[in-house]
Every structure is written in structure tokens, then in C-alpha cells.
Amino acid sequence: MAGRAATLAEGRGMDLDEEDEELRADEEARGQTAFEREYEDDHSWEELEEDEFGNLRAPDQAEEQRARRRRLMSAAASARIRRGMVRYVEVVLDLSRAAALADMRPLRAAVMSGVLQQFVRTFFDENPLSQLGLVILRNGVAERLTELSSSPEAHIAKLRQNLDTGGDASLQNALDLCVDALKSIPPYGHREVLIMLAALSTCDPGDINASIKAAKRQRVRVSVVGLAAEVYVCRRMTEQTGGTYTVATGEGHLQELMLSHAVPPPAAPGTSSVSLVRMGFPCKNPEAPGAAAFCGEACLLRPGGYTCPKCKARVAELPSLCHVCGLSLVASPHLARSYHHLFPVPAFAEVPAAELLGVTGCGGNQPDFAPAFVTGRTYCYGCYTPLGQQAGGAGRSRGAASLAAAGIVSRCPDCRHLYCFECDSYIHEHLHTCPGCECLPPHLATATAAAAAAAAAAAPAVG
């Protein structure tokens, strides 16, 4: 499954399959099917408001959307910050006694595991060149679950098998184990430890301060996501190593906090100079049964896979390290997928409603090719949804107008096109390129390209 996921040539059918899979995984992550899901936590009906005429009104989404945009923009605003593109992350999952509490349904451990699985997928989605390893805290010791590797499915499969809880948590053991494993990482790689901590205390064999110092010496960035409360030692550990410390208030928040770690963190100042990294782009082997060969470290006889360009060894999946010569093997889409962190889409500016009234079309400085049904109105450049009050029309019922008005409108600062909130977030979260800017006429596009080139010069080179 994982191998196939990497072969992007397979096309659309594959993608659908993948989506289904993800949906199912989502459900599973919550450990229940749709009808079992708990609705008590998201009292959506309470958000309904009644206006002075007794009409039900959907809650004002603008504020919520603004909050989400702020998050997006904060990522975009830090565009010029150098980021660690090749990350080596040890994720520590706390399965001590405290993980067996049921203040998150059904159990903290199940919730954490679900969030972690989602994190693993997102992580590789965002950082295809990076590696990740899993460590579990249980009974006072730190167990290595998976070694640092690039295969999400392997991690998830292992994770699913290990959900027993018990005993104390020992941060020091975890830290020692992780720092030990991260010691040998090449200097261009970013060393990170991410701890999901349910426990409120740590039972250590020795002085944890020494371990923290060691971690700092090894330039390991330790971040903690807590489940219950702020623990002083975590605060100190994260402050000293330059990581972040956050505490989740609920399941949704936990997920949000974990996923925020999927985006590459800013590189610590003076950690590594710009250096060239040797990488191989292997060829894909034919899938025919006749082409079977011994593949990978385990020497499985199977067709397909990739051939290392340096030593001609066969590896089963990408990205990975060649098990013979140790070359990093990637496919070009992986590089491309990492690219957007370096050149994020600029933050769109929100357009106030008053300004919107005077505008028709989608803004921008390009002749409109809008379909007939939207001409004469303001519409989103991305999805042709009518925007703002005008769309509702003066004569239409109030309810419809207020529904259409829900949501904020934003404008790309480069191409001046208008986007609805949905398109805005889609562009920033998934597309990572502004369609308006892409379609700019050539004489305008050059200016944008020049800016991009300048930005590229500032980024670490990837060879």
C-alpha cells in the first residue's frame, strides 16, 4: 500500500482510493462509526441564533474564519524564515498510567494514538524528505517502537498494535533514548523530539537536568504537547532546547496542536550552514511478474520497486535511504512537495464589506472570462461563487442574504483577485499556489517571478 502511494504515476484512481482510506482511518481514529460518534461535545445547535424576527440564523462564521486565517497568515508571514526541510523527528508517545484516564473519550491513549496516526500521515505529506521514529513511554521505561524511517504505514501499523497502558512515565529515559538515536544524524538534518505527554510527573532514574543539557548540546529541539496541565520540567526543557510547549484543552485542540508540528519549524540560528545534500532519483522498475528481483534489506523477491542510481540496489519504496550505499533516494514530487514551505503563497488581505459593494467581477487586472451567470456580480475567482451582499439581491429573503454574507472575502496582494474563504484556505493549505497569479499575463507575471527568484536565492539549496 505504502509503496503504491509513492508511485504517483498511477493517477486518479489511486487518489480516490487513498481518500477513502483516509476517511476510514479518520473514523477508526475515533474508534467508532458515524452513528456512535459523540455529539455532546460540539453543541452545534447552541450556536444557532434567533434574530429579532424569529428566523434562525447560522452563527456568524466570520470570526471563526478570521481566527483560522490568522493561523494561515502566521505561516505565510514567516515566509522568509529559514526552515528545516529535512527533519528527523522522534515522536514519544506517553502510554503510562495517566494515559488510561477517560477524560477524553474513550481513553486518552486511544485519542492520542488516533491523533498521532493522523500526525504521521500529515507529517510525511508535508515533509516527504524527513524521517520519523516512534518511542513509547510505559512502566517507567522508554521502548523504541520504530526506528527512524520514512514509511508512514509502517509507523501506523506498529502504533496500532501497541496501546496497552500502565506504570509511570520517565521523560529522562525517553530523552536519553531519542538523543542517542539523533546523535548520528547528518548536520543538515533537523533533530527534533516531540513528546505527547499525558502524565503529570516523571519518574526518572537520574537527574533530568543532565539529560536536558545533553539534548541541548546535541542541538535537539524538544517540543511537548501535554494533555492535562503545565508541568514545570517540560516548560524548562522546551525553553532550554528551543522547542514549544502546549497543553491541549480537548481532543480537537490536541489534534490542532499536534498538526501544527507537521509544518517544518524555523531553523535554529547558526545550526547548519548551507550545504549541498546528495540525493538520488531512482528509476522505477517494471511491474511485470517477470521482472521480480530481491528488493530491499529484507531481500523479498518481488517485482517493481526502484533501482538506486549509485549502486543499483533495489529498494521497495520512496523516499528512503539506500540500504546498500546509504544514499537518500527521493522522487521529484517529494522535492516539489517540500518546496511550498520555502515559497508560501502570500497572505491574502481581507476585503471589508463596504469596499466589496463597489466591485464587480473577481477583481484582478485581467479580462474576465466569467461565465454568463456570474457577470455583473462580484464572484470568487476560484469557484465562481457570488460574493457578498449583492449576490443575495435586495428583493430576496433575509435568510438567504445572511447565509450568502457569512464568510469573509480576501484578495491576493499580487494578482488582486478576490477569493471566498473556502478557496482562500484551500489555496493556502493544499494548493500552495495562487491560480490568479499563475494565470497572469506574461508582462505582469515577470514581476512576480523576479520576486520568487529572489526568495529562492535565500533558501537552502537542495541538489
Binding site: 521523560l171 510527573s201 537536568n209 492535562a228 503545565e230 514545570y232 517540560c234
Partner: protein, 1313 residues
């Protein structure tokens, strides 16, 4: 920042200021301006110290006539928290903390014994490691730095504002003063361990005779102190430059100049602007006499952390004597004797000289009065000071019988022997000083007067004998202290002799306690001497008790709150354990295993929920021992250890220090720990558990003092007799301030957060809760007042999570004020301030504010008042003179002709008007609020609201179950009646406010708003009241009619009416309603079979044959269904059932009521019976007659004297019936609640189902009629003031003139004015 505070320029060393700091400065300034004392409470962590310093130094700058700032702190470490960073460098070891030093020494000794082979550096390492644990951790936060350090910063900051001025910044001299122990730099002397030994060593080197001898015989090699000599040698040159000197700075200065820092500081305090020292230096007469005597009257004295100031005062004047003390005293007397013998042999002249001095009187000679520094010689003897207060020291000669040294020693011997006999008791003896002196006189013939001089005489003797080893003579000093105090004070002291400690009755340990009972004694000279005394602390609540126990009158009392950017303080009251049983440390409950288990379970759960440090306070050591050993047996302790390590405070200082050290380390390394401590223990007073050291503090129980203690009992008695403070008040005050002190340990700055658990059900009560400081109660939510363990855990979990979220530390604007904002405040303040000032002045002086002639007197009273027909009203009756409010000169009925009747009518009118106003308000308000969405009442329409009580779960007020929650209509009506009855009863019969005042307009004591102060305004108000009341009565009538006709609330009706005035008005509604009633009247004639006629689809409908559109849900299966329901009230079957029920029940009561209204009048008219007053609405008023109400005019029948009782009875009866009906009773619960039938039907009405169903219809019809009749009776009663029968007869006799309109029209015309 620099800003103006009411004209005073204040320099404040930070960019922003908290609003409460600003307020604090304001209060302080008022006190300084008024030259009075003040009492200020402001929570810890708000920068109290810097606020104080900043304002007072600024004030000194602006008003040079202001004296010193004398800042008294509790402990020396408090004085210089900065030392912690310095102690590594400071070569003089910076032994600033007195007790801490001893502790460290013994710790090091223990460690050395354990590590005999350790070298010096290892020892040093150990010292450094243990050292920080001995003191409260100093924070790297601005608020943690204390007094002198903060002052230093302030002065440096102030510099920048004076760069342009010619002379530079004004210089001040500020210094801290401490004992020799902390200041000595002599290489040998400072090595001594205890304070006493340092004092004695110092004395040996610096005593005048030693120096004299050393000067005389330079070759004898008599040791003196080089530093002291250096200072003496420097003469007037030996002084400090202006600046701020901490103890450390003083030592550095002293070492630099080779001067003794202690004596230098003593010399310089006379010139200092700011002096920082311990409480004792101000309060203890022994010390204050020599240190603080010369301070000028204009000084400002600040007692910081003064919540226990009364205890400090008492300790300063109390002496305890044990048998060991007496042994030591005997030895001392022996050596004194030997010394006298020796001196007699060698130098008898000295003794004779002393005798001569004594003959002339000690004080007159000024020998014992320590001269100021410049005098030189007196200094060394300053450790001998009189324990009595300065003004109590007698200024006469020492009595003859102790003038000679031998005699005095013999006298002391006798006294010690007597004390020995007193100690040999086998039961507790309690004495007053007077009785003690009497028995002393009797037993050994010692007089009180002689005792009074004991101390001075001893001091003189020691000086004459040139004894320097003062620490060896501690015993005899104590005895002399005791003697002097007993001899001086006859009031405010108690002498209690106990043969053993109550807690250890088997160990004989006799003790004589001379205990001061009156805290005001010690503090009185301070209040008397200094212009402004500021008492301040984080926990002074209840703040009004301090002026009483300290016996002074402050000009400012303020309790300030803390402004927080987030709710970082979460006080909760735990009243129940996990099993819902109450928890408490009350004496009868504290050893209950269930309570102990609940406490334990709670602690275990909290330990699993709260990160890092948790502190648990217990009420006493013995209780802690007991509960911890029980927890151990129950296995709770083991469970607790799984989550956190456990440390326990013991009475041993060394053990406790080690425990604290390890506790902190456990918190630091993430293991987490629980510290068990005791309220009133050392830890509770001095150690902070801020930040992660204390995320949660649990106060187990209410820390009452050990109430069996004799001293406490004596003190309580004294307080009751002298200050009229009730025992319980004082005990609760003391307990709660201790509890507040304990829980306050957890938060020391605004960036900190902590959970405070008050685990006792008694904290829920008002007498405890209200005594907590305002900054705690402010955060004590109502929903957190009655928690069980599991609820507590939910709260704790949420709190910990929310506090872990990142927050904006400096929310400028909301909780911080910038310089501009403060200055803006000040310019805005004067007007508000002036208003407040005038208000308070007006409150103080009850003089009438001069309002000129008011409109009211001219306009509404007297012959020229407004009349009902305006200028055309020619024929005002002669008896209406306009002397009562609301008199418009109209009385065609002649009701007011009889003065007696008139007064009763007036009264009835006013009272009805008042109740009607309240009622009308109550009818309209909920609906208005509901409509505007500001509150949810469930059902806001007034006549429907009551029905909510029949819901499952009863009625929640404002929809909030934690507010008044009513489940029983009976209870609600009862309480209503009781309240109304109380008010009426109080009004009619008078109450504590005085019986002579007018029952209608009591005024005087009954008038908190001061409405009646000005007679003119009052008169106008009366008219207004009556006018509004009349309007309200009419409104209420209107509401009744509206409700019956339209079935909606008044506001709804108004809205409807405004929306469509033509269709929604009274007549439209009434015709609709009447149309509904009419056909029923017509149809009754043709009765055959009820089942056909009144039920089913063919029943008569409200429009007869024309009613085409009967709603589908009205199927005719219930009685009284005429197929009419335009409002759709019956659409919902459940609602319909409830409406049906309500209608039937109301109909039944209305029928009874109507019968009751009519019957007496009929009977009276027929002459069948005499009711006194038969008209229904007047009958009730008879109860207000003298002698009350007789039923049927016959006193032997029911005789009611109290309206309350009558209404209560009525309510009870109605309630019983209703309750029986609704809930079922012995007759069976399965019956229909409306038509029970069966066992409930003695007449057999329900036997035939057809008849029964017909009866149901009849009942409902009659009921509806009765309801309308009752409405009619109400209207009639109000309009005509006659009974229904009389109205009927009147109407029948003259139908044209006596009808509704004829009567109502003129009346309403009258009201309209």
C-alpha cells in the same frame, strides 16, 4: 513613570502601574494628608512594597516636613531578598537570617558527622546546596525584590527626572538595621553562633569600663574591638554618605572604613530618611526604647505583612517562666552574690556610689537612660532595657528596701523562691496581676511597687558590677522582666500556671505564663507617638476588626482587589467527599473514618490532576499526625506516593528544612510532591509556595486556635469585656485569617496561578466566607461553594488546562495603566473626588442641605393645591383640607366625611397602592426582560409564570437552578405570605425602629436612603407615590382583564396592539371571547343525552352552526370543548392537558371564591348572621381591628388575630387539597387527577358515566362563569367599594345611575389628573 496624584508628583519606577496600586497610593496619600493612621489590604504579588515606597518617598520630597519612613518588616530575609544572589560572593557570609543561620549550622554539623572524611570544599558545596532551601525562594520577577532593593531601584530611577535640575537628584539616606549578629564584622565575634553570644562577646570588647581600663593600662593587653574604636575615633566624621544601604552595603562600608557597621547604623538612623527594621524594634518596649526613642513625631511608620500584628504585640509583652528558668536565676543570683562580695572587698566605693545614686532616683539622674550615641558610654548597656512601656515607667526613686545590693539580691532570692512555690501546683491556676500581688504580699511580704523597679535595679547592679557576660544572666533577667511587668500592669494581663502541657499530661512541665491579653497595650505608644501609622498586608480581612483589637481609629480603611488579565486564582470550597458525605474537621467529625477517607481520596485524586507541587495544610500537628497515620493504615498514603512524593513538616526546624529542600527538588525535576504542613506553623508564615512549587493548596478544615488553651480563653474573655468582641467572632476571624494566609501562599505574583481548596463544609457558611479577603472572595464563584470531590476534580482539570494556555502577560489598558492613562485619571478625578468628599461630609453632618421652597409644598398641599377639575372645581368638601397627599378635593360619595373612616381609607389606599405598584412591576418586568433577551424566565407572562411550578423539577428562578429553586407551590405561597405578612405586621405594629412613628410613612430609622430628610421633598414624594400607586392599581385591574380576555401578558398585548391596532384591542378580544361563551348559554336548554350533546363532533360549537373551522385537534372528547381555539393553545396535546387541568382547577376555586364572596353578604342582609363586615373585600380588614376578627361576630367561634396565621392556614388548606389532588393520596394514585371518581366520590356522581360526563360540562361552565364573576367582583370592589349583593340591589333599584360606567367614569377622571 512620573505622574500627578492629586497635586503630588509621584515617581514610580515602572512603565506601567496597576489600577490597584494607584488606588493604594490614593488611600495612602489621604492618610498622610489627614495625618492619621490607615489600614490597607492589598493582595500579595501586586507590588505593595514598591507602591508604598514610591508614594512615601515622593511625599517626603514634596513635603520636607514629613519625618522618616520607618518600615517594619516581619523577618530579616524579607528585608533583603536580594542577598540570595550575593551570598556566594559576600566574604562575610551574609548571615542575615537569624534562625536560618542556626539551622544551617546544625545541618552542616550533621553532615560532617556523616562524612567525617569530607574536605573543606565538599563542605562548602554542601553549604551552598542547602543554603537556598533555607529561605523563601527569591523570584526573578520585579515584585519579588524587597524593600531596600526596591528602594535602591526607585532612587536610581528617580535620578533621570532630576538630570536637569541644578542640585541633581535629592539625596536620601536609607538603611536597614539589624542585630549585632547580622552586622558584626569583627573576625572573632561574628563567628559566634547565636544572637545572645554575639551580643555578649561584643559587650566584652566595647563596654565602657573595658575601654576605660584598656585606655588606662595599655600594656595589659586588654582586648577591644578595633572597628568600634575606629568609629569612636572618627568622631563626627564617622557617618554614611547619602544613599541606600542594605545590611550587606553597611558591612562593606564598615570594612572599608574600619568602622563597626552596627554602631554606625545606630548612629545614622537619626539622620536617615528611610529606616527598615524588624517589628520588634518598634513594638517590643525593651528594644524600641533604645532604638526608636528619638524618632520625631512626624514619622511615617509602616507595618508590612501585619496580619498577625496583634500576636507580635502580645508576644512582646509576655514572659514564660519554667523551673529551668528559676534554676538559672538561682545560679545567677549566686554569682551576683559572689560578685558583690568580691567588689565589696576590692572596691566598696563603687557600691556606695551606686547607693547614693539610687537614693536620688534612677531616672532623675538619667543614669539608666541611654544617652544618644554622642554620649558614648551608655551604648554598651543598651541590651538592658525595661520591658514596660515608656510612659508606664515610674519616675521616682527606687524603694529603700532594694537599694543596697545585698538587699536586692536577697529580695530576688525571695521572689524566686516564691515563684518556685507557685510552680509546684498540680492543677491549673489562673490569676490576675492584682491577685498575684496580693498573695505575694501575703506570702513573702513583697510589694507591687518594689517589683516595678526590679528591672531597673538589676540593670544598675549589673552595670555597677561591670558584668558583661549578659547571655549567662538570662534567667535572672527573665525573672526581673516578669516582676516588672506584674508590678506595672494590673489590667490586660493574666498569670496562668499550668502543671503540664495539656497535650502531654503525663509529663510534668510546670510553667508560669505571664500573658499579655491586650494587643493594644504594646502598640498604643506607637499610635500615640507617630503621626501616621500604616498597617498593611495581603490578608487583613475582616478589616474592621483590627481597629478594635488594636484600639485605634484609622482615617483610611481600604481593601483593594487584584486586577488580573486572566482568572489565575481559583478558590473553591469542598463540602462533600466522593460519597456525598460532608467533610469537616469539626471536633465531632474529625476522627470519623469516613471523613478521613474522603479527605485522603480527595488528596490522591488532586495529586493525579495537579502537576508539580501540592501543599496541604492541616489544622494542627496532632491532627496531622492522626490523619496521616490513618491514611497510612487505609493505604491512601501509598496511593498518594504513586503520584507524588510526600514531605511532612515537623516541629523540628532542621527536619523541616530538609523536607522543604527535597520538596523543591522534587518539584523542579518533574517528579511532583505533596507537602504536608500545619496552619500557624513556620512554613505557613514564612515560606512561599509560588509557581510550580504550589499549583494547588488544600486547607483541611478551619484552623481554629487550640480553644482549650487557658491563655486564649483568658484573652477571649478580656476581648469580650473590654472591646465587646464576641468570642466566636474573634475565633472565626482568627481562623479565617490563618486559612487565608495559608491559601495565599500559593500565589505570589500575577503571572502565577493556583488552585485553592478550602476543604471543610463550614467554609460554605457566610460567617466564614465573608471574612476571607476580598481578592479571594472576588474569584469565589457561587457554583464553587458546595463541591464534592468529583466536581472539584472537574474544576481542577479545567483550570489547569486553561491556565496552561499561552496568555498575554501585559494586557496594557485593562489591568495596567500607562503614564498618560494615570495622568488622565488624575485630571478626571478631582470632580468625582470632590463629589465623594461632599457626599461623605453630608453624611457626617446631618444638617439639612438647604433646598429652597419646593414645588411640592405649594403645589400638592394646602388650599391652593391642584384639584380634580382644575380651576373649575368649585365645591371642594370642607373636610378635605389638602393636608394629606393625593387629595384632589373630590369626594362625591362622602367617604372621607368621618375622620376615622377617612384615616382608614387613606391607609388602605396607600397600602394597596404600594402593593399594586410592586405587583404591576412584577407583572411587567419579567416579560420585558424576556423580550429584550436579557434573562430567561421560561415563562415570562405573569399569570402563566406561576404554572411553571407544576413542571417536573419545579420552578427555576431566571431559568437558573442554583438560584431560588421552588418545587412546591405551597412553599412558595407560604414564603410570599410570610414575607408580605412580616412587612405589613412590621408596618402596623411597629418594630425595633420605634413605635411612635407614623405607620404609613415611618421615615427616621426606616429610611436608609434619606428620602424623608427634607420634609418638602418627602411631601412631594408622598404625592408621587400615591399617584403612581393609583395608576398601578388601575393597571393591575387592566392586566387581570387583559389576561382573561386575551390570554396574553401585558407587554405582548401592547406589542400586538401596536402592531395591528384595529384588530387587537379590548373590544375585538372581548367580543371574540363573549361569542365563545354565548352559544353555550343558549344550548343548555335542550338537555337530553350529554354524551351526544356535549361531546363528539356534533357538539354545540362556539359559533353554533356557523363555526366551520373547528381545529382538527379539538375532537370534542373533553368537557367544555366548544371547538374554538384561535390561539392554538390546545394544539399540543401535552400543553392542552395542562391547560385543561389549570382551567378546571381555577374554575373550582373560583366557584368556591364567588360563593364565599356572596354568601356572607346575603346572610347579613337577610339578618341570618352577623359578620361585622360582610362585604368580601372589607371582611379581611377586620383582622386589623383591635382584638382581631371574630367569625360570625362570635368570639367563641374561630377567632383570628393575625393575618399571617389566617393566610397561613388558608394556604395550608389549599395546598393540602391541591397537593392531594396532584400527587394522589390514600384514595389511590391511578385515578385521573382531575376527575378522581371512585373512592373519592361519596355522592356517587360518577356512577353513571353519562351523568358524570354531563356533570363535568356543567362544572366547567359554572366554573368559567365563576371566574368571570370573580373578575367582576374585583372590578366592582375597586370601583364601587361595595359588595356584589349591595351593588346588585343598588343597580336593581336605580339601574341608570348605579352602573359600571356611571361610577367608573368620574373616578377615572379623578385619577387621570
Amino acid at each position: 513613570m512620573r505622574f500627578q496624584l492629586e497635586g503630588l508628583t509621584v515617581y514610580f519606577p515602572y512603565q506601567f502601574i496597576y489600577p490597584e496600586q494607584y488606588q493604594y497610593m490614593l488611600e495612602l496619600k489621604h492618610a498622610l494628608d489627614a495625618k492619621g493612621h490607615c489600614l490597607l489590604e492589598m493582595p500579595t504579588g501586586t507590588g505593595k512594597t514598591i507602591t508604598l515606597l514610591s508614594l512615601i518617598t515622593s511625599y517626603q520630597l514634596a513635603h520636607p516636613e514629613t519625618g522618616k519612613l520607618i518600615y517594619c518588616t516581619r523577618t530579616v530575609p524579607e528585608m533583603e531578598k536580594v542577598w540570595k544572589w550575593q551570598h556566594n560572593e559576600c566574604p562575610c557570609r551574609a548571615g542575615c537570617a537569624v534562625t536560618v543561620w542556626d539551622v544551617q549550622r546544625s545541618l552542616v554539623m550533621t553532615w560532617r558527622r556523616a562524612h567525617p572524611d569530607a574536605d573543606a570544599s565538599a563542605t562548602q558545596n554542601f553549604k551552598l546546596r542547602i543554603w537556598p532551601a533555607l529561605l523563601p525562594p527569591a523570584l526573578p520577577l520585579p515584585c519579588g525584590r524587597q524593600v531596600l532593593a526596591e528602594l535602591k531601584e526607585l532612587m536610581e530611577y528617580r535620578q533621570r527626572y532630576f538630570q536637569d535640575t541644578a542640585g541633581g537628584a535629592p539625596k536620601i539616606l536609607a538603611l536597614g538595621l539589624s542585630s549585632r549578629k547580622n552586622l558584626c564584622i569583627h573576625p572573632m565575634v561574628s563567628e559566634e553562633g547565636t544572637r545572645e553570644s554575639v551580643d555578649a562577646r561584643c559587650m566584652k570588647l566595647t563596654a565602657p569600663w573595658v575601654r576605660e581600663r584598656a585606655g588606662k593600662e595599655p600594656d595589659h593587653d586588654i582586648e577591644t574591638c578595633a572597628f568600634y574604636e575606629g568609629l569612636e575615633g572618627a568622631g563626627p566624621e564617622g557617618r554614611l554618605d547619602a544613599g541606600v544601604y542594605t545590611l550587606h552595603d553597611l558591612r562593606v562600608w564598615g570594612r572599608k572604613h574600619q568602622w563597626c557597621p552596627y554602631f554606625l547604623a545606630r548612629r545614622m538612623i537619626a539622620y536617615a530618611n528611610v529606616v527598615v527594621y524588624n517589628y520588634q524594634y518598634m513594638l517590643d518596649p525593651k528594644v524600641s526604647q533604645m532604638v526608636s526613642r528619638e524618632f520625631e513625631r512626624e514619622c511615617v511608620v509602616v507595618f508590612d505583612e501585619a496580619h498577625n500584628i496583634d500576636n507580635v504585640c502580645i508576644e512582646a509583652l509576655s514572659v514564660n517562666i519554667r523551673s529551668q528558668t528559676l534554676d538559672a536565676a538561682t545560679r545567677n543570683i549566686g554569682s551576683l552574690k559572689r560578685e558583690i562580695e568580691r567588689v565589696k572587698r576590692t572596691d566598696e566605693g563603687r557600691l556606695r556610689q551606686e547607693y547614693q545614686r539610687l537614693v536620688q532616683g534612677l531616672q532623675a539622674q538619667g543614669v539608666l537612660q541611654e544617652d544618644s550615641w554622642a554620649g558614648g558610654d551608655g551604648d554598651a548597656q543598651q541590651w538592658l532595657a525595661n520591658p514596660a512601656l515608656p510612659e508606664d515607667i515610674v519616675r521616682e526613686a527606687v524603694p529603700g528596701n532594694i537599694r543596697r545590693a545585698e538587699h536586692f539580691v536577697a529580695f530576688l532570692q525571695r521572689f524566686v523562691a516564691y515563684l518556685r512555690t507557685r510552680l509546684a501546683v498540680d492543677q491549673v491556676v489562673s490569676d490576675t496581676p492584682t491577685s498575684f500581688l496580693a498573695s505575694l504580699q501575703q506570702a513573702v511580704a513583697i510589694e507591687g511597687k518594689t517589683l516595678r523597679f526590679c528591672y531597673d535595679r538589676l540593670a544598675s547592679l549589673m552595670k555597677t558590677l561591670e558584668i558583661t557576660a549578659s547571655d549567662d544572666f538570662h534567667g535572672v533577667h527573665l525573672v526581673a522582666d516578669f516582676a516588672t511587668l506584674v508590678g506595672t500592669y494590673s489590667r490586660g494581663f493574666a498569670i496562668i500556671t499550668e502543671p503540664y502541657d495539656d497535650r502531654l499530661p503525663s509529663v510534668p512541665d510546670p510553667i508560669i505564663q505571664l500573658s499579655c491579653l491586650d494587643a493594644s497595650l504594646a502598640v498604643r505608644p506607637v499610635f500615640a507617638k507617630y503621626q501616621t501609622v500604616v498597617i498593611t498586608s495581603g490578608t487583613l480581612s475582616p478589616i474592621d476588626l483590627y481597629p478594635r483589637i488594636l484600639n485605634f481609629s484609622p482615617v483610611c480603611i481600604a481593601s483593594l482587589n487584584m486586577t488580573l488579565t486572566r482568572d489565575c486564582l481559583c478558590p473553591v470550597v469542598l463540602t462533600r467527599g466522593g460519597d456525598q458525605l460532608p467533610v469537616s474537621t469539626k471536633f465531632d467529625m474529625r476522627s470519623d473514618p469516613q471523613v478521613i477517607r474522603n479527605y485522603g481520596r480527595m488528596l490522591v485524586d488532586l495529586a493525579a490532576t495537579v502537576p508539580d507541587g501540592v501543599v496541604a495544610f492541616f489544622v494542627s500537628y496532632s491532627y496531622m499526625d492522626q490523619i496521616v497515620s490513618r491514611w497510612n493504615d487505609m493505604g491512601i498514603l501509598q496511593e498518594l506516593m504513586a503520584h507524588k512524593l510526600v514531605f511532612i513538616e515537623t516541629q523540628d526546624v532542621v527536619e523541616t528544612t530538609l523536607a522543604l529542600d527535597n520538596f523543591r527538588r522534587a518539584c523542579d525535576c518533574g517528579r511532583g510532591a505533596v507537602f504536608f504542613s500545619v496552619a500557624r506553623g513556620k512554613v505557613a508564615e514564612g515560606i512561599d509556595f509560588d509557581r510550580h512549587y504550589g499549583r494547588c493548596v488544600v486547607m483541611f478544615g478551619v484552623p481554629y486556635q487550640y480553644t482549650l488553651s487557658r491563655i486564649l480563653r483568658a484573652r477571649l474573655e478580656y476581648l469580650r469585656e473590654t472591646f465587646q468582641i464576641k468570642e466566636n467572632d474573634y475565633l472565626a476571624f482568627d481562623a479565617v485569617r490563618q486559612a487565608a494566609q495559608c491559601v495565599g501562599r500559593v500565589i505570589r505574583s500575577k503571572a502565577d496561578y493556583g488552585l485553592m481548596v478550602l476543604a471543610d463544609k463550614r467554609y460554605q457558611r457566610h460567617d466564614k466566607r465573608d471574612k476571607l479577603p476580598a481578592w479571594i472572595t472576588q474569584h469565589l464563584k457561587d457554583s464553587h461553594l458546595n463541591l464534592s470531590t468529583d466536581m472539584l476534580l472537574c474544576i481542577a482539570r479545567d483550570f489547569m488546562r486553561s491556565m496552561a494556555q499561552p496568555y498575554d502577560r501585559a494586557a496594557v489598558g485593562r489591568s495596567l495603566l500607562s503614564e498618560a492613562a494615570v495622568n488622565a485619571l488624575d485630571t478626571a478625578a478631582p470632580s468625582a473626588e470632590a463629589a465623594a468628599l461632599t457626599r461623605s461630609i453630608a453624611a457626617v453632618r446631618p444638617g439639612r442641605t438647604s433646598r429652597q421652597v419646593t414645588r411640592a409644598s405649594a403645589e400638592f398641599y394646602g388650599p391652593d393645591r391642584v384639584k380634580f377639575l382644575g380651576p373649575f372645581s368649585g365645591n371642594t368638601p370642607s373636610y378635605l383640607k389638602g393636608e394629606y397627599p393625593g387629595d384632589y378635593g373630590w369626594d362625591t360619595a362622602g367617604l372621607s366625611a368621618d375622620p376615622e373612616t377617612f384615616s382608614r381609607y387613606r391607609e388602605l389606599e396607600v397600602i394597596h397602592a404600594r402593593w399594586a405598584m410592586l405587583g404591576a412591576l412584577g407583572c411587567v418586568t419579567p416579560e420585558l426582560l424576556q423580550n429584550s433577551g436579557s434573562a430567561s424566565f421560561g415563562e415570562a407572562v405573569w399569570f402563566k409564570a406561576g404554572a411553571q411550578i407544576f413542571q417536573d423539577g419545579g420552578l427555576d428562578y431566571l431559568g437558573n437552578p442554583s438560584l431560588v429553586h421552588a418545587q412546591s407551590i405551597v412553599a412558595v405561597l407560604l414564603s410570599q405570605i410570610v414575607l408580605m405578612g412580616l412587612i405589613e405586621g412590621y408596618r402596623v405594629s411597629g418594630g425595633p425602629a420605634g413605635e411612635v412613628s407614623d405607620p404609613l410613612y415611618p421615615g427616621e430609622a426606616f429610611d436608609p436612603l434619606g428620602l424623608a430628610d427634607d420634609p418638602d421633598t418627602f411631601a412631594e414624594l408622598k404625592v408621587k407615590e400615591l399617584k403612581n400607586g393609583r395608576l398601578a392599581m388601575v393597571s393591575m385591574l387592566g392586566f387581570f382583564i387583559q389576561a382573561i380576555v386575551t390570554g396574553d401578558g401585558p407587554i405582548k398585548n401592547l406589542d400586538d396592539h401596536l402592531a395591528s391596532p384595529s384588530t387587537t384591542n379590548f373590544w375585538a378580544a372581548l367580543t371574540q371571547r363573549l361569542a365563545a361563551v354565548k352559544p353555550s348559554g343558549r344550548a343548555t336548554r335542550q338537555v337530553t343525552r350529554a354524551s351526544v350533546e356535549w361531546y363528539g363532533p356534533n357538539r354545540p360549537q362556539f359559533l353554533g352552526p356557523f363555526s366551520g373551522s373547528t381545529p382538527s385537534y379539538l375532537k370534542g372528547e373533553y368537557p367544555g370543548d366548544y371547538g374554538w381555539d384561535t390561539a392554538g393553545l390546545s394544539a399540543d396535546p401535552e400543553t392542552f392537558a395542562r391547560y385543561r387541568e389549570l382551567e378546571v382547577i381555577h374554575a373550582r376555586w373560583a366557584m368556591l371564591g364567588a360563593l364565599g364572596c356572596v354568601t356572607p353578604e346575603l346572610l347579613q342582609n337577610q339578618g341570618v348572621a352577623n359578620f361585622g363586615e360582610a362585604v368580601w373585600f372589607k371582611a379581611g380588614a377586620q383582622i386589623f381591628q383591635d382584638g382581631g376578627l371574630d367569625y360570625l361576630g362570635n368570639p367563641s367561634l374561630i377567632h383570628a388575630q393575625s393575618i399571617v396565621a389566617v393566610l397561613l392556614t388558608q394556604l395550608t388548606l389549599m395546598g393540602l387539597i391541591e397537593g392531594y389532588r396532584v400527587n394522589g393520596g390514600p384514595a389511590g394514585e391511578d385515578l385521573d387527577s382531575l376527575y378522581p371518581g371512585e373512592a373519592f366520590d361519596p355522592l356517587g356522581l360518577a356512577d353513571d358515566p353519562d351523568t358524570f360526563s354531563e356533570l363535568k360540562v356543567k362544572e366547567l361552565k359554572n366554573g368559567r362563569l365563576a371566574m368571570v364573576s370573580m373578575l367582576g367582583f374585583f372590578v366592582q370592589g375597586i370601583v364601587t367599594r361595595k359588595g356584589p349583593i349591595e351593588n346588585l340591589t343598588d343597580h336593581l333599584s336605580s339601574p341608570d345611575s348605579t352602573n359600571f360606567w356611571a361610577i367608573y367614569a368620574p373616578k377615572s377622571a379623578g385619577i387621570g389628573y
